[in-house]
């Protein structure tokens, strides 16, 4: 019962202002939850990058750089397969999801890397237009088989003979 409802209600919900100076704090939050779930240091670094790029895009493209708008970030630990789910919502400009795409990396130039980083890092990344206006981005990342192996067994007392 509890588990089911946790799957529906975010375990942690954050509302923040669209201020770039707050992004490092949200990165820390995601890093923290990813550590609890059992992600390796490398995966946690990539997760920080993905959430950072997603939030920077909301500020830059959704809100045209305005710093006094609202962003919502919802976080879940996911059980099967073990991992993390992140939903980012805004009330900014709403664009057709097919317009959000990473650029061809063979053309070396500054900019246009965020969406590429997000898609490369996450197992799922899905942009939607919200009926209320703004965008919703759903991100999912699972533990790798190696990370799963390093995770402590469910009963910690087993490690103690």
């Amino acid at each position: 019962m509890v588990i089911e409802s946790m799957e529906r209600n975010p375990e942690i919900s954050i509302r923040l202002f669209s201020d770039p100076h707050l992004l490092s704090t949200i990165r820390s939050t995601v890093e923290g939850l990813a550590k609890v779930v059992g992600f390796s240091e490398k995966s946690r670094g990539l997760l920080m990058l993905a959430i950072d790029e997603a939030l920077a895009n909301v500020i830059r493209h959704g809100y045209d750089g305005r710093t006094d708008e609202m962003i919502w970030v919802h976080l879940w630990r996911v059980r099967e397969p073990r991992g993390i789910r992140i939903i980012i919502e805004d009330l900014g400009r709403s664009v057709a999801p097919e317009k959000i795409k990473g650029r061809d990396l063979s053309d070396v130039k500054p900019g246009g890397l965020g969406v590429h980083i997000i898609k490369e890092t996450m197992n799922e990344s899905c942009w939607e237009q919200r009926p209320e206006g703004g965008m919703r981005l759903t991100l999912v990342k699972w533990l790798s088989p190696e990370e799963l192996q390093n995770v402590t067994p469910t009963k910690p007392e087993n490690t103690f003979p």
Partner: protein
């Protein structure tokens, strides 16, 4: 669903070393408490808790260390803390408990 505290145990002569790895907080201090209880039951001459891999400890962790100290004293065992990093040290300091414990830099030093 959560990465639990991993606690390694090593027997060196008549000394037992417990080495937890991870943050010791409300969600995880019971694991180390359980491990301490098991060790005290076997009555080694010395119990060492190596905190080198513990970056953070809250008051529930500190309470566990006080319990370990007190049950060591009751059982005439020596009790030594090792590898106390700056964050853990300041938790002991702010609760004015740092003087209660024998603290060594390394397990080798604790063995003396």
């Amino acid at each position: 669903m959560n990465q639990e505290l991993v606690i390694e145990q090593k027997i060196i002569g008549d000394m037992i070393v417990l080495r937890p790895a991870g943050d010791i907080d409300m969600a995880r201090s019971s694991a180390i408490r359980k491990a301490v209880t098991e060790v005290v039951r076997t009555r080694p001459a010395k119990l060492v808790i190596d905190l080198t891999a513990v970056d953070y400890m809250d008051s529930s962790g500190i309470a566990t260390m006080i319990e370990a100290l007190q049950s060591s004293m009751r059982n005439k065992m020596k009790f030594v803390l090792v590898g106390v990093g700056p964050k853990v040290r300041s938790a002991f300091e702010i609760t004015k408990l740092v003087g209660m414990f024998t603290i060594c830099d390394t397990v080798e030093e604790a063995a003396k």
